[in-house]
């Protein structure tokens, strides 16, 4: 699976305003709403469900990266977006570091395999420190989109 298969270009956000975990999640879910990927009347429920998942254990997986996510019956396919925070957000990460790079995923409950493939793709690409650093330094959504496209094109990893 490639980024292009699940990241909505129009929902990518550089320079997130959020300074808290909940605000970051709200901002990114809001971006998916604006891009027409989720229904307005499902917004609050999706945010609540992502926050509930965070209570089970932070999705801040280290290296300044978090993958907040949830299953939600209102989506027909896996949808996701990317956000970058210049200052970083306290996300209760496993390694205690502030999170600068977010991959937010919402998947249909009956498609767990797609979620797993998205996690696999994100983690494989992030193993490349250059890719990870360039993403965090991005100040424009277009730059993030470009980096994701280059990653899809195997310009950062060999395998």
């Amino acid at each position: 699976m490639k980024f292009a298969d699940f990241i909505t270009t129009g929902a990518i956000r550089a320079k997130l305003d959020a300074t808290t975990k909940e605000a970051a999640i709200e901002e990114l879910v809001g971006a998916l709403l604006e891009a027409g990927e989720i229904d307005a009347d499902q917004r609050d429920d999706i945010i609540a469900s992502i926050m509930k998942r965070e209570e089970l254990g932070s999705t801040g997986i280290g290296r300044g990266v978090a993958v907040p996510h949830t299953k939600h019956p209102s989506v027909e396919k896996l949808v996701g977006t990317v956000g970058v925070s210049e200052e970083g957000v306290d996300f209760d990460s496993l390694d205690g570091e502030r999170v600068q790079l977010f991959f937010l995923l919402i998947s249909p409950p009956e498609r767990p395999g797609d979620h797993l493939r998205a996690l696999e793709n994100i983690s494989r690409q992030l193993r490349d420190e250059t890719f990870c650093r360039f993403l965090k330094q991005s100040s424009k959504a277009e730059d993030i989109q470009q980096l994701l496209a280059e990653a899809d094109d195997n310009q950062f990893v060999s395998g």
Partner: protein, 105 residues
């Protein structure tokens, strides 16, 4: 240096080795001094790194090789195998988070 021990484990979680079981696996492996790796098709990754575990994209039913080398390698493999056997259920999570390691089942 002791020799490395190996074992095969199967992913029983219907959702595969997603983030929560991976997190639990990292926390469990982290309690042992041994070097622990896990993988398939010859691609072995650090069992103490969640980012590495997620790169496996291991689905339900997937068989993984588990390898440990170090002073507590056998204990580590026993405990990790138990985690896989239990399907990473919540009771296991509590035990791992708990103050003392329990052996009551």
């Amino acid at each position: 240096m002791s020799e490395s021990l190996t074992r095969t484990v199967t992913v029983r979680d219907p959702l595969g080795l997603h983030m929560r079981p991976a997190d639990l696996l990292v926390r469990t492996a982290g309690r042992y001094a041994s070097q622990i790796t896990i993988g398939k098709n010859g691609e072995m990754v650090d069992c103490k790194s969640i980012l590495s575990l997620l790169t496996l994209g291991a689905d339900h039913g997937c068989e993984l090789s588990l390898e440990a080398a170090g002073p507590d390698a056998a204990d580590a493999l026993d405990r990790i195998e138990q985690l896989f056997e239990s399907g990473f259920d919540d009771r296991e999570a509590e035990q791992v988070e708990g103050v003392r390691p329990s052996a009551d089942h």
